[in-house]
Amino acid sequence: MSTISDPPSGSFQLSMLINDTRYRSYTFQFIALILLILAFAYLGYNLLANLQAAGLNISYQFLGEPAGYDINQTLIPYTSQSTHWQASLVGVLNTLLVAFLGCLMATVIGVVVGVLRLSDNWLVRQLMSVYVEIFRNVPVLIWILIIMAVFIAVLPQPRDFRGDDPEATMFLNAFAFTGRGFYSPAPIFGPGSGAVIAVFLASIAGIFAFRNYAKKALYERGQLIPTFWPSVAIFFIPAIIAYFIFGRPITLEYPELRGFNFQGGIFMRNSLIALWFALSIYTAAFIAENVRAGILAVSKGQTEAAASLGLRPGRIMNLVVLPQALRVIIPPLISQYLNLTKNSSLAIAVGYMDLTGTLGGITLNQTGRAIEAIFLLMLFYLAISLAISAIMNVYNNAVKLKER
């Protein structure tokens, strides 16, 4: 605030604590600190009094005790005899899984929609803005529940696949879209499949090397080497050859109706898909707006300048517009990722076993340790948020316009 050039002479007086701007800030801070301590003391005292009255204590011992319940989707080994802590870890991984899948799909849809909103095509433009407005303006919880309702009410249940004249049949005899989730064939890696995978990975590295070489050729010798088709060839041909050389070691396991459910293959549970799709299409509507704003933020002159250099529209987009637009797009994009991750806690509405479902749900219910469980739950989400913010700061510093 204002600086006083000529401080009043004389010794310190008590009234200066309020009236002198040099000391007043200390007074205020002191009062704030006291109030804060009082507030915490008051809450803490109440907590202790309430806990004592109810004969409870605060203890994290329950994390080491067997959980006793089963979880339907576990990325790490887990049985009902595992501890509550392991159940929480299962939940953490499930949260991260759906958040990762959601971010991926939301980005793809969001970028496509955002670009299409600026398309020359009037009809497509209108359709895309309808999409954005509808999904932005309705709560994501409703979208999650609607997609879940599609699973429950529209898609056939496994029992409809049964019998001589079933109501539903599998798609290509390999994919089953049921109300309980989607089943697809799973690869089975026999002996020798390691070599095939190694060849495949090597060919991916080869693609990068080839592209680098092409770029070098272009910059140094001005020689234009086509990259697209050779890349496709490198991607497929060695792997396929290796696959046959090693005697077809990778086979597919098809899902098949046995007993109550389909068995075998890869199973994606309805709750995961409902959550994943709903979060993706909801967040994509916001991302689309960010992308659109980012592209619009690149001034028209840049496009025109690039065009006057003779660049083709695709190259203008890739070499001139996008690199500049990304600077505008990425920070809000990352905060959308953060929102998506936080919204994934709505999993509890469809019974997806993320962290809110295990630690904040069943563990809390079974042990009755509400304060402890919710505190841990918040800490975890806070850690994710802080990690994402840190990434964002690093990125922001990296792409900051370097003014010389």
Partner: protein
């Protein structure tokens, strides 16, 4: 506006905190209403009817306690609770008692610090499946998808049962009974498991109850009863003996129809006299009026009447008395003597 109300409430509460401590009875009397925790909706046990009035077997217990304490069976505020919120609601004092088909277990009694005052329904966990699946025993459920309410003992029993029998299953966790219903009916799960009474109540709400069967296996003991907080023994006694009064009344043949007549003057059976307050000072010992038990019985009838009216064989739920018959008729209901 609201913030001020909070401030006001906190200051008032802060001042009165010293006075109002553990005496739940005084709180209830001062408030003029009993706060009773019930389920969010399970037909027959506790569910709001078309007019928004709560009805059911557990509701009957709440009303009996309200009648015994306040003399008015309608002076109850029903607080719907889920598996997650019920214990916190009770521990934090939001409700005075919980009557939400809650299983009496060691850890809930000892570790969570609650006092189960008795058992109003002896139950066990069962399975319901659609008839068309042709399943006749729970042991045939290998690989089945099972809908299950989270936060209940059924979840743990289920894990134990399937592990003990070495068969696999897919749990689908559900928050409330209401959410489980469409999942089960549309076939998103093959089996629905919860307390057998809850299965019967759920089935009764189906359009075609006869298309579903409850499997014969009962895989657990589920003694359901009302509970209160640890530490307020007087209040615990009131709820315990109100429940016992309802049970004893059936045993002694006191019904809502004849209780007025029987309590008009001391009769020949001294236990009835003591129960109804025409002899002795049982009410005074509890800190209630002499005719507390009479009011409790008048509220909705004795145990048998409550049972028949809400969940008995003549209701859509159609539960037989079974274990819940009086001990004189081969059941487990056994009220300690009123003496």
């Amino acid at each position: 506006m609201k913030k001020l109300a909070i401030l006001g409430a906190m200051t008032v509460a802060g001042l009165s905190a010293g006075v109002a401590s553990a005496a739940t009875l005084d709180d209830v009397k001062a408030r003029g209403k009993l706060n009773c925790g019930v389920t969010t909706g399970l037909v027959g046990f506790a569910a709001p009817n078309a007019n928004g009035e709560w009805e059911g077997f557990d509701v009957g217990v709440c009303r009996a306690v309200a009648a015994a304490v306040l003399g008015d069976p309608t002076a109850v505020e029903f607080v719907p609770t889920t598996g997650k919120t019920r214990f916190t609601a009770l521990a934090s004092g939001e409700i005075d008692m919980l009557a939400r088909n809650t299983t009496w277990t060691f850890s809930r009694d000892v570790d969570l610090g609650f006092e189960f005052v008795g058992i109003n329904y002896y139950d066990g966990q069962g399975f319901m499946v659609p008839k068309e699946l042709g399943v006749s025993s729970a042991k045939e459920l290998d690989g089945a998808t099972v809908c299950i309410q989270t936060g209940t003992t059924t979840e743990l029993n289920l894990a134990d049962f399937f592990r003990a029998n070495n068969i696999s299953y897919e749990p689908v966790p559900i928050e409330t009974n209401a959410e489980a219903q469409p999942l089960y009916l549309e076939g998103a799960c093959d089996v629905y498991t919860t307390d057998a009474s809850g299965l019967a109540a759920t089935r009764a709400a189906f359009e075609n109850p006869s298309e579903h069967v409850v499997l014969p296996e009962i895989i657990s003991k589920e003694p359901l009863g009302p509970l209160v907080r640890h530490g307020d023994n007087q209040w615990g006694d009131i709820v315990r003996w109100t429940l016992n009064a309802l049970i004893a009344a059936e045993e002694l043949g006191v019904t809502s129809a004849n209780v007025a007549e029987m309590s008009a003057s001391a009769g020949s059976n001294p236990e009835i006299n003591r129960l109804l307050g025409t002899e002795g000072t049982l009410g005074e010992m509890l800190g209630l009026e002499a005719d507390w038990a009479k009011k409790a019985i008048m509220a909705g009838g004795n145990y048998g009447e409550l049972f028949e009216k809400n969940i008995g064989e003549n209701t859509p739920i159609g539960l037989a008395r079974g274990l819940n018959a009086q001990w004189t008729e081969g059941g487990l209901l056994y009220s300690p003597p009123f003496r």
